[in-house]
Symmetry: C2
Subunit: 150 residues, 2 copies
DNA sequence: TCTAAATTAATTGTACACAATTAAACATTG
DNA sequence: CAATGTTTAATTGTGTACAATTAATTTAGA
């Protein structure tokens, strides 16, 4: 395109490359996209993979707990979990001691996915051309910002 | 929940807190959420705001150029841009020199949004408890990773 | 030139993401 | 114990995201 005409007031604060938000937003999507071919082999989406990472560690979690850990609400989780239930990878049942809560549990097929997922983290790490130290520093910095906003 | 039962093979590589992807994914959403109340006053969503940041700078861009800069495809941009067109904030027209291309232009009402958006970046920066140096370092690191993956 | 290949948007279908509302179950308090 | 308020999921509606396909146009090659 012709970019001859310049804006009346070029405001560097309103330029994409000077923001933190944009590279964060774009990088998040690019990383998700990098997982996609690996997750496709397991018939998983990226948010579904995150749910399983938690279930593989804890076996059982309520929707509320999943939401707290993933910072997602029931409007996102409920349909996602129903899809996983339909595939017979997880169970959804009300907590008999508190009928408001829904407990999500792992079925054997869901548990079995873990073995196949084992290589994914290293495979992604290899793609990121970073030293282990840089990786750790960045991870901690992002987590600090995250707790600051959440 | 009862987390008494432990997994057969607790794999630290498959734990959320050891990933880079998760804080990136969550932080990206949290930052978008931090923009939301500010953008709501302008009747804008976050991706729409990104489109306007580019249009305020360049006046006119094709859908292809917007997609390259934002790393978004036409399946995302076309409906988003049609909504902005309906609000009379932008124009969409075919390039007469290449009828395949669609040129997006700013209408006065869309241009006028810029003045109201001016305070948003500082307002967000104030929320992030970071030094200017840390901000810059992080921004550059994210951009490096971004170009590495894109 | 005429056709095959490439480019560009749009469309279609699936899956998040989240605000707002609803409804059921539980807790609290007078 | 009854009324009120709180917690928890589910539902509804809007708006991204993106893979895959389609259609129109342009470009390049024989």
């Amino acid at each position: 395109m012709n970019n001859e005409r310049q804006p009346a007031t070029p405001n560097p604060l309103l330029q994409l490359e000077n923001q933190l938000c944009f590279p964060l937003y774009a990088l998040s999507r690019m990383i998700t996209k990098a997982y996609q071919p690996l997750l496709q082999e397991l018939d998983l989406t990226y948010p579904q993979y995150l749910v399983f990472m938690l279930l593989w560690e804890h076996q059982e979690l309520t929707v509320k707990e999943l939401g707290e850990k993933l910072l997602l609400d029931s409007g996102t989780l409920t349909p996602l979990l129903k899809r996983l239930e339909q595939k017979q990878w997880i169970t959804r049942r009300r907590d008999p001691r508190d009928e408001r809560s829904v407990i999500i549990g792992l079925l054997p097929a869901g548990q079995a996915l873990q073995e196949r997922a084992c290589r994914i983290p290293e495979s992604i790490a290899a793609r990121l051309n970073m030293s282990k130290a840089d990786f750790e520093t960045l991870r901690r910095q992002l987590n600090t910002l995250l707790t600051q906003l959440a």
